[in-house]
Symmetry: C2
Subunit: 346 residues, 2 copies
């Protein structure tokens, strides 16, 4: 089976994906009998290219502007999707958590044209999960987004494949690395301000760390998990997060003396069809699966009717978590899992 691929957005994650696909080319062929070519690329600032016979991806990565590679006249991402004749569209345009655009439109267009649509973007998950899933089903295609939450720690595919017909009653986790690093470093005596600076220096926090420290990044991840795994649409606003600015060194020292620690705990509980979700600092002790998640480690604990407590942790060296390579692997896994169903190979 040969698959034509379109890359909408061609930043670090998409480029890592292109390299990973190349590295796994022989294995794809050997294990799944999958071959591929890239037939469309849309970049943010370096032009657009379509060639239904296949583009030279290495050249596209080297060029300042990729337009000369194109055999067709294309002017925007929707043009690329329409003319690429792709079977699979990877959506990696910039995230907009408020509206999910332009990713929503790209995914709609791809699914309408009968492509599988795969993204690492939380926006369209929170803003379009039900609509896009329904559209995908009606076309016999897949809308997949493994890397949208906990990039590098598969949770959507794990729940889908390892927990058939399980009823999820509780999600509890640490979803934001920046705040977890800050709290870990404060436990070792560093000031809040210096811990924030450290996070900025290793590239995990932005110049304005509000999105992390006020809990909004965690809240959109909670909203995405609830929307998908609990099949209950939820927005970050409904999660209404509390961040970590109120946690003082004194509070942390007192907790430590009692064998406890503060974590920015994300949680969602489903009971009688209703979901209560929150993001807030909580004291946890060593009996909690969250207690051992320090620094950039993140993870999630799931409680179901069939398996009581199952937790997934991603434990990595600082600064490496959620790197583009791991996010790219989530997209790659989504691709393999979507197309292996076409050829009915398990």
């Amino acid at each position: 089976m040969h698959y034509k691929l379109a890359f909408i957005g061609f930043g670090n994650v998409a480029r890592s994906l292109a390299l990973l696909l190349e590295r796994k080319r022989a294995a794809l062929k050997e294990k799944y009998n999958i071959t591929y070519s890239v037939t469309g690329i849309s970049t943010g600032r370096h032009g657009f290219a379509v060639n239904p016979d296949g583009l030279d991806v290495q050249k596209a990565m080297d060029l300042k502007n990729i337009t000369p590679l194109s055999t067709l006249d294309v002017k925007d991402s929707l043009d690329v999707i329409r003319h690429s004749q792709a079977d699979v569209m990877f959506e990696n345009s910039p995230v907009n958590t408020q509206t999910g655009q332009p990713a929503l439109d790209h995914i709609r267009a791809a699914l309408e044209l009968g492509m599988h649509a795969i993204t690492a973007n939380k926006g369209p998950v929170v803003h379009g999960y039900r609509e896009l899933t329904k559209l995908a089903e009606s076309k016999g295609r897949k809308f997949r987004f493994e890397s949208a939450v906990l990039g590098g720690a598969p949770v959507f595919s794990v729940f889908r494949e390892a927990f058939p017909l399980a009823e999820l009653s509780s999600i509890k986790g640490i979803f934001n690395a920046t705040t977890n690093i800050i709290l870990s470093r404060m436990e070792n005596g560093e000031s809040y301000e210096n811990a924030v600076k450290f996070c900025q220096s290793i590239g995990v926090a932005e110049t304005d760390p509000a999105n992390d420290v006020d809990g909004w990044d965690a809240a959109i991840k909670v909203a995405a998990l609830v929307t998908v795994l609990m099949d209950t649409p939820m927005t970050p606003q409904q999660v209404n997060p509390t961040g970590i600015r109120g946690i003082t060194p004194e509070m942390i020292a007192k907790a430590k003396a009692e064998g406890k620690r503060y974590k920015l705990v994300c949680s969602a509980e489903k009971a009688e069809g209703k979901v209560n979700a929150s993001v807030a600092p909580e004291l946890v002790d060593s009996s909690s699966p969250l207690y051992g998640m320090m620094n950039s480690n993140t993870g999630v604990a799931l409680r179901t009717d069939v398996i009581l407590d199952y937790s997934i942790t991603q434990s990595e060296r600082e600064g490496m978590r959620g790197g583009p390579e791991e996010t790219a692997y989530g997209l790659f896994a989504d691709f393999v899992n979507a197309v292996k169903l076409d050829s009915n190979v398990s």
Copy 2:
């Protein structure tokens, strides 16, 4: 799609599975359009029954001897398999870790007849994985065993579904609950002897605890994981385990004072096609994902070329871990995952 099921072995796990199937009957129909009937049951001491039109499972659970339920003359498990006309065979006969029998013969027979074969038994995984997988493939059927290791914490399906084409280089975990409870209780000052007695009192350790405390239970689990996930046949003898009898209260107190603790660590490393596996007590500190696994908690950390460190933990109340309900759910998940491919529903 209607599936006929045969139960070979009808102890606690198989009975839990029968109850779980009944509880999920409506959901199976609604989500996957799957219906089922039980057409064969083989018990250890209460007879055999086959009825290709369906047996009354509730009656089979209530009866002292199920032979009167049979519409055919059957005398042993192989007869039940042959005459049940089943599509799926659940193998739950007593475990023999030395030879894998009689489970191996049951699974061979079922696959030869074109059934999916599903077991929670480590024996046939260690002694027959390659042969049975090949046989299953040649018949277009599945040989599945999610509950054989870490029952209640899916690891085989997680690796199969969420890690396509990942190269696994390291497995590290705590696979034996009994020794973990003993070490946890010794850390709280209890003697080895009393900790063993406690484990016996809650039913997790046998009268002779040797299989657990000398590391053999952990070793066969390592062998099964290496055999399947690293595609390298391995026996428990090759793992050559060291148990926990050599760990003294003094050693544990000294470790605790240094912020460390002893764990019976299971590990396997693959490099250049060669696997080194071991089971032995090791000192771990709080940076290890194993540090927080106390009492009956078990788990495994996987390192791959695409996702660096991913760990799965099962954290439960004492005495509940690996109960028959959770083992049964692994068999149930194997069933759904095997047959959903028949109908090509994802």
